[in-house]
């Protein structure tokens, strides 16, 4: 199994290199340079030109690329054009916010999707299955941002059950219980809505898995051996049907990351997606470059995790 994991990690290296090249090209397409963040009305154009020369901005592209990559490996993501602080420190707080929101969303997604998928597969073509299919069709068909807007309008503005924006109320002190409760409370509505709309794939895979596995030979064998129905379902059918969900895990992470922009915008939640949108409207290109790189790396890691989990739960796909 370690061979599979090792091989999978090795595949990631060329992917990372190509990703970094793409991001570098994208960064070069953006106007401005690392000194725009330091320029003020008093700075002398000659000094800027000298600085540019000194820092090698007139070097050939590949020299600049390797230097940029070297800085990245040392954790130096550059200086924000607008906020005039290191990008890394700017992103860190937001990344923490996005992490907690995503974690809550993932937990809720599986908490909703797995019972629904099992119920639909178990009661195939009965009313449970049919209503879950309708639910699944709705979550598949409705665009996420419409779902968020309507949810915010109904539960945030009209009913007033949840806060409408931000990540924490202003009147609580950090460190107290009220503070953590307020943070959780602010994450609940976005997390529930995102979770509901992300369940589609998992429910569908689980249902299909159970329906297909029910009629397999090994299930019939187990039944004819006299294995109790409950054990047949939980140990034989369910375990095999959960495999595709492991494969789908990376997909869920990717979806959450690309979805973070929309959900954080609608709920004005200060995470990485919101930072990305703010940076682009302020033309803060160093922050943008760093964020795209981070989004890309996280997606790669999501896929890596997915494949590794697959090789753990399904011995058939391991490298011999």
């Amino acid at each position: 199994m370690w061979k599979t994991v090792l091989r999978r990690i090795l595949i990631m290296i060329p992917q990372l290199i190509i990703l970094s090249m793409l991001v570098f090209i994208l960064a070069k397409m953006m106007p401005g340079d690392p000194f725009s963040g330091m320029i003020n009305p008093n700075s002398d154009p000659k000094t800027i030109a000298r600085l540019k020369q000194e820092y090698g901005l007139n070097d050939p592209a590949w020299v600049q690329y390797t230097r940029w990559l070297g800085n990245l490996l040392h954790g130096d993501l550059g200086q924000s054009y607008i906020q005039k602080v290191p990008v890394a420190s700017l992103i860190w707080d937001r990344a923490v916010n996005t992490f907690w929101l995503s974690l809550l969303t993932v937990i809720l997604t599986y908490a909703i999707a797995i019972p629904l998928g099992i119920s639909a597969g178990r009661h195939q073509d009965q009313w449970q299955d049919q209503s879950i299919q309708v639910f699944n069709y709705i979550t598949f068909a409705v665009p996420a941002f419409v779902f968020f807007i309507l949810g915010l309008w109904l539960f945030g503005f009209t009913l007033g059950w949840f806060p409408i924006s931000g990540s924490v109320s202003g009147d609580v002190n950090p460190g107290t219980f009220a503070y953590y409760w307020s943070r959780l409370y602010h994450m609940l509505l976005p997390a529930i809505l995102t979770a509901l709309i992300t369940t589609t794939g998992t429910v569908q895979y689980l249902r299909t898995g159970i329906v297909d596995n029910k009629v397999e030979d090994y299930v019939r064998t187990a039944r004819s051996k006299g294995v109790p129905e409950k054990v047949v379902f939980n140990k034989h059918i369910l375990r095999n049907s959960l495999l595709p969900i492991a494969a789908f895990f990376g997909n869920t992470i990717t979806g959450l990351l690309s979805g973070s922009m929309v959900v954080e915008m609608v709920f004005s939640y200060p995470g990485m997606g919101k930072l990305f949108l703010d940076s682009i409207s302020q033309r803060d290109y160093t922050t943008l470059t760093a964020l795209i790189l981070i989004f890309g790396i996280l997606t790669l890691i999501g896929n890596l995790l997915s494949d590794i989990i697959m090789s753990i739960v399904d011995p058939r796909i391991r490298v011999k």
Binding site: L26, F140, W153, F157
Partner: protein, 304 residues
Amino acid sequence: MAKEKENKNTETNQQPSLPPSGFKVVVREILRDKVAMVAFTIVVLILLLTFGGSLLLSGQNVTEINVADAYYGWGEAGHLLGTDDGGRDILKLVIVGGRNSILIGLAVTVITECVGLVIGLITGYYGGTVDGIIMRIVDFIQILPQMPIIIVLTTVIPNYNAFTLVWLVAMFGWTTTVRYYRSFILSQRGRDYVLASKTSGSSDLKIMFREVLPNITSMIIIDVVLTVAGNIGIETTLSFLGYGLPTTTPSLGTLIGFANDPVNVTTRPWLWLPATILLLLISMSINYVGRALQRAGDARQREN
């Protein structure tokens, strides 16, 4: 001459003995499904409303700003759905915006289907190294953060317009289509009819486009319908975030974007609610038709 005619006659005579064509079964199955018929009717009505309405409005400049008329409510001053901050009539914006969003969705789908189908046929049919290389590229594009990259490109590309947007979305979309067709064609590669055609000396191109392609017509219809819905979703999401269609071109996403302002959400629902409802209707009806087609396609596979 006479012989050729005879050949044609025997060919047409043979038709009934063959299993019904994919398209016919799909149509038959759809006609049976009452809800799908309703969904299909809604799609047609929306197309008539948006495209017909846009034709009627073609003489007017719906995005012309007239601040004196700003923020009329429902039905005030002859504006059935009120006006926005620039005094533009919401009903007209919804009609033109709906048409634009559907057109973008269609345009992206045409590109991704053509590219995806051809590349899918090639990778699936040849397999081996060709398949290996193309699929590595497809894998890589699929793990790129699509939304952030598109958004950055929309801001750095000079002369950005609706066509640029179509190409940007299509640049990522074709990979899904390739995967969809490739898996099916891989399964057809070893089938008797392909091998028979190969033995009798048909060229690879002929086998791909004359033998395999007709077998996937129902798959193409299904994928086109579902992809159009998906692409409308992508365009409206981008416009909603403010980086889709340029502000001078109305889009449902831009209109729904009015809801980003808390004041608009609570006190001016006419700004964003009509566009939201239209987009919901579009996505839900197109997706329902797509799913019904999918079920019909499965039914056809059962019959074979």
